[in-house]
C-alpha cells in the first residue's frame, strides 16, 4: 500500500490502539482515587466473607448427602502429590547414584560435561 495513512485496516488498528490507551489511562486515573479503593475493598471484603460462609454451608450439606467435600478431595490430591513427590525424590536419588557410579573414562553418556568453560575472548567466537 502506497500510503499507510489511507489504509482502512491500518486506520482501524490505530483507532483500537488509541482507544485502548485512552481507556486504560482514564481507568487508571479513576482507580487512583481513595473513593475507588474504599468501594473496591468494601465489595471485596463482603465477597470474601460470603464465600467463607457459603463454603462452610456446602461442607455441611455434602456431609449430610454422604458425598466427599472439596476439602476431602483436596486432601486426597495432596496425598497423591505427596506420593508423587516421594517418587521424584527416589528418582533424583537413583539419578544421583547412577551419576556417581558412572565411570568417567568411557562413561555411560550421562556424566555431566566438565566445568571448564571460559568466556569467549573479546571479539572471538562464542563456543
Amino acid at each position: 500500500m502506497a500510503d499507510k495513512s489511507n489504509d482502512p485496516v491500518v486506520l482501524w488498528q490505530t483507532m483500537i490502539g488509541e482507544m485502548e490507551k485512552g481507556f486504560n489511562s482514564f481507568a487508571n486515573q479513576a482507580m487512583a482515587s481513595p473513593e475507588f479503593s474504599r468501594a473496591m475493598n468494601q465489595a471485596g471484603g463482603a465477597a470474601a466473607g460470603a464465600q467463607k460462609q457459603l463454603g462452610e454451608l456446602m461442607e455441611k450439606y455434602l456431609l449430610a448427602m454422604n458425598l466427599p467435600s472439596r476439602s476431602q478431595l483436596v486432601g486426597m490430591a495432596e496425598r497423591l502429590q505427596s506420593i508423587e513427590g516421594q517418587l521424584n525424590e527416589i528418582k533424583a536419588l537413583l539419578h544421583q547414584v547412577h551419576h556417581n557410579s558412572a565411570a568417567p573414562a568411557g562413561g555411560y553418556g550421562t556424566a555431566r560435561p566438565p566445568r571448564t568453560k571460559r568466556p569467549p575472548s573479546p571479539g572471538g567466537e562464542q563456543k
Binding site: 500500500m1 482507580m31 475493598n41 466473607g49 467463607k52 483436596v74 544421583q96 566445568r115 568466556p119
Partner: protein, 365 residues
C-alpha cells in the same frame, strides 16, 4: 505535499484497491477456518526443555535442566521465579526459551519454581521463603553441582526474594546476582498502593477469611492495571488469526499470563504490611524472621534489567535498586518493552539475553 502529488497518491491507492480487497477477503476466509482450529486445538507445548526434578516440598519445586553444551561454566545458576506465576515464561518454546539460551551458552541451570500452595500452607510467610526455601535450594544446588559458588537470578518478586536472601546471607555462597524488573520502592507501584490502601484494605480479615489468596484475585489485580488491554488483545487476535506465528505467540503468552498462582496467606500479609504499607525494603528497615535484611549489605556483582514500559513494576519502583545495594560492580540495563517481553519477547532474544551472557560469562569461571 502539493495537489498533483496528492492526486497521484490517491490514484495509486485506487489502483491497489482490488488487490487489497482480495487480500482482505482471503484473510476473512482464513479467519473462519483458523478460528475453528483455534478453539479445537491446544496451544504449543511450553516448558519442554529436558529437566530433572531435584526436590519437591509443598509449593517449592527445584529443577535441574540437563546441560547441552560440551563444556559448562564452573558456577551454576539458580533462577528464583516470581511467586505469582509459573516458571515456563523463561522456557516457552525452542528458539524462544531463556533456559535453552543459557544451556547453549554453557551455563548449568537450576530453577526454583512454585506450584499452588495447598490450604494447609496458608501459614507460610516471608520467613519460609527467604530463610528456608531459597537456602534449601542453594544447598541442594551446591550438593548436586559440587560447587560452592552460585549465581542467583530473580524475576520480578523472585528478585525481591533474592535480594532479601542476598542481604541476609551476605557472606556467601551467592557469587553474582541478576534481577529482572525488581521493585524496591513500593510507594511507586501507585495502583497497587491504592488497591491496598491501609485505611480501606483489611488484609487480616481477608487472610483470616480465605486462607490463601485466590489466583483470580491476583489475576484481576494485574488486569486492572490495564483494564482495556484484554479486550483489545482479543480484537487483535481476531484480526491476526490467519497468521499462525501471531496465534502461537498469543496463545503462549495468554496461557502464561492467566496461569496465575494463589499466594500463601501469611506471605501475602507480610508483603502487604512490610512492603506495601511500610516500604521497609526501600527504607532499609526490613527484617525477615528477626534477621536484618538491608540490601546495602549485598556486596556481590549485580545486574538489574528493567523495562521501559513496565506497567506492573514501573521504573520509579525499581530505579533505586542499583543505588542502594552495597556492591561495587553493579549495573542497570534498561530495555524497550514491558514486564514480560523484557525476559521472553523478541527484545529479550536480541538484547537482554546476549547482554546477560556477556556480563555473566566472565564471572562464572
Amino acid at each position: 505535499m502539493n495537489a498533483s502529488a496528492g492526486l497521484g497518491l490517491a490514484a495509486r491507492d485506487l489502483a491497489e484497491l482490488p488487490d487489497r480487497i482480495q487480500s482482505e477477503v482471503q484473510r476473512a476466509i482464513q479467519r473462519s477456518i483458523k478460528g475453528v482450529e483455534y478453539f479445537s486445538t491446544s496451544g504449543p507445548s511450553l516448558g519442554s526443555t529436558p529437566k530433572d526434578i531435584l526436590h519437591v516440598r509443598g509449593t517449592m519445586n527445584l529443577y535441574h535442566y540437563r546441560p547441552i553444551a560440551d563444556e559448562i561454566y564452573r558456577v551454576p545458576i539458580l533462577i528464583v521465579m516470581a511467586t505469582t506465576n509459573r516458571g515456563y515464561i523463561l522456557d516457552m518454546v525452542p528458539g524462544q526459551s531463556f533456559i535453552e539460551f543459557l544451556l547453549k551458552r554453557g551455563y548449568d541451570v537450576y530453577m526454583l519454581d512454585w506450584t499452588a500452595p495447598k490450604p494447609e500452607e496458608k501459614t507460610l510467610g516471608m520467613e519460609d521463603y527467604v530463610l528456608d526455601f531459597i537456602p534449601d535450594c542453594v544447598r541442594r544446588v551446591q550438593q548436586d553441582s559440587g560447587e560452592t559458588d552460585i549465581t542467583v537470578i530473580g524475576y520480578c518478586f523472585g528478585g525481591v526474594l533474592s535480594l532479601l536472601y542476598g542481604a541476609i546471607f551476605n557472606d556467601g555462597p551467592m557469587k553474582n546476582l541478576i534481577c529482572f524488573t525488581t521493585p524496591i520502592d513500593f510507594r511507586e507501584m501507585k495502583l497497587f498502593q491504592n488497591f491496598s490502601d491501609r485505611r480501606y484494605f483489611d488484609v487480616d480479615r481477608l487472610i483470616d477469611s480465605v486462607g490463601n489468596v485466590p489466583p483470580e484475585m491476583i489475576l484481576s489485580s494485574f488486569e486492572m492495571l490495564r483494564p482495556a488491554s484484554r479486550a483489545a488483545s482479543q480484537v487483535q487476535l481476531w484480526e491476526n488469526i490467519w497468521n499462525d506465528e501471531f496465534v502461537k505467540s498469543y496463545r503462549m503468552f495468554d496461557r502464561w499470563a492467566t496461569d496465575t498462582l494463589p499466594l500463601a496467606g501469611e506471605y501475602f500479609r507480610d508483603i502487604t504490611k512490610d512492603l506495601m504499607w511500610d516500604n521497609k525494603l526501600y527504607n532499609g528497615t526490613m527484617s525477615v524472621g528477626g534477621r536484618k535484611a538491608d540490601i546495602a549489605d549485598i556486596k556481590v556483582p549485580i545486574l538489574h534489567a528493567v523495562a521501559e514500559h513496565d506497567h506492573i513494576v514501573p521504573y520509579d519502583a525499581a530505579k533505586h535498586l542499583i543505588a542502594r545495594v552495597g556492591s561495587k560492580d553493579k549495573e542497570e540495563v534498561m530495555l524497550k518493552g514491558g514486564h514480560v517481553s523484557l525476559v521472553a519477547g523478541a527484545n529479550a532474544i536480541k538484547r537482554l539475553w546476549p547482554k546477560l551472557d556477556s556480563w555473566l560469562g566472565g564471572k562464572s569461571t
